[in-house]
């Protein structure tokens, strides 16, 4: 067992770190305030391969791996969690579905532009009445000749404000439970008639990320855009969410480390009672505690990523990493605001944004409660 990154991963980490510090950090506050993602920044990240990290060069990807992808997620999320989710939804949710279940033709046609830097992807599963429980799904697709006709509405579709391609899930058989009647489709958000993308949903955190309601009204989807077998959508969605949880765990690690770094920097300069606050043992001990938890969360995340890279079962490992890391992100960001006192609470400093951003990591791609269901389900308790 080796806990050290190899040379290639170290250099990738250096790239992600430099890019995040130079290109993303200066925009993070403004993007949060305006609730708009900077599309020039998006294009720049596409250009340097940030949207195709773990995918094969054969289809235009970077030929790197999930571990490197977690390094990217951590580094960008250190300065801006919204950038983290933008990359994660594209990579883990949209692209992984096509990569794992697409035909050769679908991979060439739809995966290639997503991972070679040309197009951005999103993922439509959640509905108003179908969150953790997919049984409430109401979006349907009905076969009509060589096409499927899609009707329904998906909420919280991250990236949908600017994405080109969406992997969307609809019921193709309403006579069976949703877990057996769901089918995945690849749709063009910008080109197919009948698709409407709402304004951004106003949120507490990750406000720069695009997150909208996508409505499908008699959208005609050619049959060759069915992803995987008809009726196997639930399995595809759950597989994607397993991948996604590694990304969210890494995002949470990044938010936590970013906030702690800010608190450390502030505590070196801020003087109270005649001394920098970092010289007080209470501050030092709290910081030691926070760093220990972040390191533990990081190692759990890397373990899940390495398991995925080795094609081992990683679902419960990803769930544990996300459960723990998201909790750590919330604890550390709350600490960072507290350690920086009144200034931590001010929008001039980034830690209040980080605290708002941290909350979502306990909710999306499966709540912490769902993570416990996944983990306990793997423990042979019954």
């Amino acid at each position: 067992m080796d806990f050290k990154l190899d040379k290639s991963h170290l250099l990738q980490q250096q790239l992600f770190r430099n890019f995040a510090e130079t290109e993303i950090k200066p925009l993070a506050k403004e993007m949060d305030e305006s609730e708009q993602y900077d599309l020039d920044l998006l294009a720049k990240m596409h250009k340097y391969g940030f949207f195709g990290i773990p995918y094969s060069k054969e289809y235009g990807g970077c030929g790197s791996d999930t571990l490197a992808y977690t390094l990217c997620m951590e580094e960008v999320s250190k300065v801006d969690a919204s950038t983290g989710i933008t990359i994660s939804v594209h990579t883990s949710l949209c692209c992984s579905c096509i990569n794992n279940f697409g035909t050769e033709e679908q991979k060439q046609k739809y995966l290639r532009p997503l991972i070679d830097g040309s197009k951005t992807g999103c993922f439509g599963l959640t509905e108003t009445n179908a969150g953790s429980d997919v049984q409430g799904a109401q979006t349907v697709a009905v076969k009509d000749g060589d096409e499927w006709v899609l009707n329904g509405s998906k909420i919280f579709t991250t990236n949908s404000g600017f994405a080109d391609t969406c992997v969307v899930f609809a019921l193709t058989d309403r006579t069976v439970p949703a877990a057996k009647g769901l089918t995945a489709f690849i749709v063009d958000l910008k080109e197919m008639p009948g698709i409407t993308v709402s304004e951004n949903i106003e949120r507490m955190g990750i406000r720069a990320a695009s997150n909208c309601i996508v409505t499908y009204e008699n959208v005609r989807v050619p049959a060759d855009r069915v992803l995987g077998p008809v009726g196997k959508g639930f399995k595809i969605a759950m597989g994607a969410l397993d991948c996604g949880r590694i990304g969210i765990a890494a995002q949470a690690v990044g938010i936590a480390q970013g906030a702690l770094n800010e608190a450390i920097k502030y505590g070196k300069e801020r003087k109270q009672f005649g001394k920098p606050i970092n010289s007080f043992q209470n501050t030092q001990f709290k910081m030691a505690e926070m760093q220990t938890k972040i390191d533990a969360a990081r190692l759990m995340t890397w373990r899940a990523a390495i398991a995925e890279d080795n094609h081992e079962a990683f679902g419960p490992l990803a769930a544990m990493a996300k459960l723990f890391a998201s909790d750590v992100a919330n604890e550390v960001t709350r600490f960072a605001v507290q350690a920086m006192g009144g200034y931590g609470y001010c929008r001039e400093y980034p830690v209040e944004r980080m605290m708002r951003d941290a909350k979502i990591t306990e909710i999306y791609e499966g709540t912490s409660e769902v993570m416990k269901m996944v983990i306990s389900g793997s423990m042979k308790l019954k």
């Binding site: 040379k7 250099l11 890019f19 340097y48 990290i53 970077c62």
Partner: protein, 262 residues
């Protein structure tokens, strides 16, 4: 066109400190980077390749750990990389360094050699011009613009108050300023490729046909560093324009008195 870019791995001076007792650099824990001017030169080379075709080769003289600087250059898009590394090369001053790099360049072959103007750790600005002298090829230093026209390069050479446009026949050497161009980032896939490639490592034996052992290393170095010290940054000057002779005298006198110089 075969472009060879010479790069140096240097400590990131933004994070480097001097030991107050010994006056030497404290390198522990300081990250190493590709020297800024060299990186601008590499970017210019990559852009020229995109425009006129050809290849970009990177060369670095340094210890084995300089390998990562060459991998970074490969990940930015360079085609191949050479590390000139040997115990015999240690302790070389700028003259001996240029002798070694020139020997490497002779063996690699080139149409255009690009070096940075100077390294941020030594600030001598001597190695590039000395390489050109050793290779007996024309050189243009302080390039802020660089283009190729047939078998000539067109260089805008920067001076403090003016610039020269020069047209030089290749083979030649150009030393690049950081202002020449903004370097691109590495590509993620480029890093993966960079570690799947070989960096050619040449030691003394590989270059001995054109290297006199008396001209390299500590004993081949005419200069020796006997002390290093930090410099106070020079304040920006003030330009007073459009004054008559009398007004200029008055303005200078006023400043001298203000500073208690007279």
């Amino acid at each position: 066109m075969k472009i060879v870019v010479c790069i140096k791995q240097v400590p990131d001076t933004a994070e480097v400190r001097l030991d107050p007792k010994t006056g030497t650099l404290i390198r522990d824990g300081v990250p190493s980077i590709i020297n800024h001017d060299d990186k601008a030169g590499l970017e210019a080379a990559l852009q020229l390749r995109e425009k006129v075709g050809g290849t970009v080769t990177v060369v670095c003289m340094g210890p084995p750990q300089a390998d990562v600087a060459l991998r970074e250059a490969l990940a930015m898009g360079a085609d191949d990389a050479y590390l000139l590394s040997a115990r015999e090369f240690g302790g070389s001053d700028t003259y001996a360094t240029a002798t070694i790099i020139a020997a490497g360049l002779k063996k690699i072959g080139f149409d255009l050699v690009i070096t940075g103007r100077q390294a941020i750790d030594g600030d001598t600005a001597q190695v590039g011009p000395q390489i050109a002298e050793q290779l007996k090829i024309p050189q243009v230093s302080y390039a802020e613009e660089l283009d190729v026209e047939g078998d000539h390069v067109i260089v805008k050479r920067q001076y403090e108050d003016q610039a020269h446009m020069l047209k030089v026949q290749m083979p030649c050497l150009v030393t690049a300023l950081s202002e020449l161009t903004e370097p691109r980032y590495m590509h993620v896939g480029g890093i993966v490729d960079a570690y799947n490639k070989d960096v050619t490592v040449w030691g003394f034996d590989d270059l001995k046909d054109s290297l006199n052992p008396e001209w390299i290393g500590l004993k081949g170095s005419p200069t020796n560093v006997f002390q290093s010290f930090g410099k106070q940054p020079k304040a920006a000057g003030t330009v007073l324009a459009g004054l008559s002779a009398d007004e200029a005298v008055a303005a200078i006198m006023e400043k001298l008195i203000e500073r208690h110089i007279i």
